[in-house]
Symmetry: C2
Subunit: 462 residues, 2 copies
């Protein structure tokens, strides 16, 4: 069985029982790596045989974990109080190595238990990266040891709506046990309003028509050397507290309006002969940021604007393509450009799950193919995969799981399975089975594709 | 305080404590009525006075229940471990007497606990009618004593996905204690595919181009006298098991395609000189149905097509307007026609909450006004109110509460409060307070209007 993310139920009518499964052996190659990483081997083999028993063999510990998940999905419960599994041989591996879900704990605080449940649900669908967009304009729930004022002043509530050291560690550990990387994002220089509350002087004061500061603040002020000291210290802490090789540096949607009103910014622009091109000021900031992170021996992911605005990037940089939700020509052009420049790329544009609409929108997610762009084979190899995004303007702990799943399962299969599996109509049966499996395990998820039922629907209680 | 459904928090800074509240008295006029009804009096008065204490006075037991809810919302918790309430005098009453929520337990089974939670949430927002669309094409979860085969064969699963006698009674009682009517809907002659599974002969066999039955079934076959015996017996049971004076008889979206293929239907049409006008056959069925229900001493609500197709209706019939979700001219024209003919009307068109879209769609719900149609004062008086509808094609126990609330609160206030409260921008602060109040009481609801937080968001765990 190759290329199908979810196993189908074995048909009990066509079954003849040939033996009892006595042994289940789990093996994997190599050392037991401590943390999952971009290049981890997730390949696995499963053999279920009436004589040998079951063998789950991973090309690494991470592959063994993927194999265990599939193995559990092969088992069904019969009406005769027995658990059944078919004789089978499976060789399975992912098409893309980065299969992520972006969560946003700034627009609304996401309870730690909700993040755990998200990781459980991701693991069941072989998603392997939790992209944790942890802070933004609206709130700064990350409790920094170096700069405790950031969350004390910038969180919604520093008592209950923050992620403490032990919370972060628990989330990293919970993810690790499920072979899921946690790539944290501290987005700057825009999207930082909440940072300014606990770090006076960080943000750019905007000026009104009367030539006086109007009390509004814009992006981080890149003209002040002190701000880069702060950035260096903050990212030093981030690099020590998050284990992944990659840190997401953001860099999207920097608004230039405020910068343009500020006299000292304008003076700096003149000194540097930037003219009126504020993308050059943005790049000045991001260049310093990526240099700092490089010195910390970390690699980085950046939103596509950073690439578009010609920042000099490390060769292992990942450019995250997000613009053009419903316009595949927009994102496919961008993928061409990014990979032509030799950078690795991640795709999110077609998978903004927060942009809800009526009906089974997972079908269009499913039929969005990351390789749909003009490029050489070499360029295609630079596509690491993609991420579904659940921005949290309208998401909290009450609807995070039920709204994200099972819709995101479509993205998970697109990124794991063969490109030949292309039609949602042929996937819907598998997806229904998988949705019911999740409900059976107590995960509260919305219906997948119109009227119907799962055997445990009646127990979906609030 | 008149016309605001939700109370705002008293500002603790402007407060001076003048005494302790020692007594809370609840009184109401008249006999204690057993079941809530269309004309129940929900008016109440609250006086909170440092000398007299608190008096909650209802014009009936139902008004006292409304007053108790408001009273509970007046109380806030201070930072000094005290509960606070302002000195206040409130005279409050609803603008419309029918303020409903339609739930659909056929497209997906809704767990009984989810229905309880729905009733809790309705009560907090002074909604007073649960319109229970209990069966439809997809499943028949109502366990009938007279026709047990209907749910045995027509439910998704007769063991766990049915509403037994004790379940129905528990739901009626739970609603009664919250001053909420339960108006059940058994929609016919269309929307009855699942009925046919347990009642052979009920539905019309459709014929293929070869002049033979093609195995597909259409609406109830109105040409068979036996079917009206069945209908009489079924509705006799319904009238005995549901307590409200009104039963919703459906009558929407009857498809004529199948009827037109069936030879005995066509023969019947000829005999009755209906020509090719199948609305006359539909009306023939509905006329017999309403006559049966009239003989049971029940009143009825019907979807607008029944009125549009000229069925002779009892004078106390309620016509339920649902067509034209985004086109107010469609529903306002219909409201004019229905009330001009002297019938009472309910509005649902602008309030199909299952038709989700990105962002705070409650704002457009809020700004939809049932009196926005051309008609005399007398016609306006025939508007009983309205209902929000949560059709369950994409709803199950996992997302019923979080998706319905707090969006439906906008409909609740529209139907309760003064018409002068017209702008969503002026309501949003109240709505945020109310949403947080619901979360504090453990009701898992999605965010109301973009980024923000409630003090108990961190406890919204799955």
């Amino acid at each position: 069985m190759e290329g199908q993310l979810f196993s189908s139920k074995p048909s009990s009518s066509s079954q003849s029982i040939v033996g009892k499964l006595q042994n289940v052996t789990v093996r994997y190659d190599g050392q037991c790596e401590e943390w999952p990483h971009l290049n981890m081997m997730e390949n696995y083999t499963i053999v279920v045989d009436p004589i040998v028993g079951a063998i789950i063999y991973g090309r690494s510990i991470w592959g063994a974990i993927r194999g265990l998940e599939t193995f559990s999905q092969l088992i069904t419960y019969s009406n005769q109080n027995e658990f059944l599994i078919n004789t089978i041989k499976i060789k399975d591996f992912p098409r893309f190595k980065h299969r992520g879900l972006l969560i946003d704990s700034s627009r609304h605080f996401l309870p730690i238990k909700t993040i755990f449940k998200t990781l459980d649900s991701m693991e069941m669908n072989k998603l392997n990266v939790l992209h944790w967009h942890i802070v933004d304009d609206e709130s700064f729930p990350f409790e920094s040891e170096t700069f405790p004022e950031l969350s004390r002043k910038g969180s919604y509530d520093p008592q209950y709506h923050v992620y403490r050291d032990e919370d972060v560690n628990a989330i990293l550990e919970y993810a690790r046990q499920r072979a899921i990387r946690v790539v944290v994002e501290f987005d700057s220089p825009g999207h930082t309003w909440s940072w300014g509350l606990g770090q006076p002087g960080l943000l750019t004061p905007c000026y009104g028509p009367n030539g006086q500061p109007n009390g509004i603040f814009g992006p981080i002020d890149p003209t002040k050397p002190n701000n880069f000291k702060f950035i260096r210290n903050l990212f030093t802490e981030i690099a020590s507290r998050f284990k992944d090789q990659y840190i997401h540096l953001g860099g999207d949607e920097v608004s230039f309006d405020c910068w343009a009103t500020n006299p000292s910014i304008r003076e700096f622009m003149e000194q540097h002969q930037y003219g009126n091109d504020y993308t050059r000021l943005e790049s000045y900031y991001v260049q310093k940021l990526v240099n700092i992170v490089k010195q910390l021996n970390r690699s980085y992911v950046v939103w596509q604007e950073v690439f578009d605005h010609n920042v000099t990037l490390k060769s292992d940089t990942v450019v995250h393509v997000w613009i053009g939700n419903d316009t595949s020509s927009t994102w496919s052009t961008e993928l061409s450009k990014v990979t032509e420049a030799g950078y690795q790329a991640l795709l999110s544009s077609p998978w903004y799950l927060d942009l809800i609409s009526y009906g089974p929108d997972w079908r269009k997610y499913y039929e969005s193919e990351p390789y749909s762009f003009d490029g050489t084979d070499e360029q295609k190899r630079l596509i690491l995969g993609g991420e579904a995004a659940v921005w949290a303007e309208y998401i909290n702990g009450a609807n995070m799981i039920s709204r994200t799943f099972p819709r995101v399962n479509a993205v998970a299969e697109r990124l794991w399975s063969s490109q030949r599996l292309a039609k949602a109509n042929r996937a819907v049966g598998r997806f229904r089975t998988q949705a019911c499996r999740m409900i059976k395990l107590g995960i509260r998820i919305q219906p997948i594709d119109g009227p119907g039922w799962c055997e445990c629907d009646y127990a979906l209680t609030d």
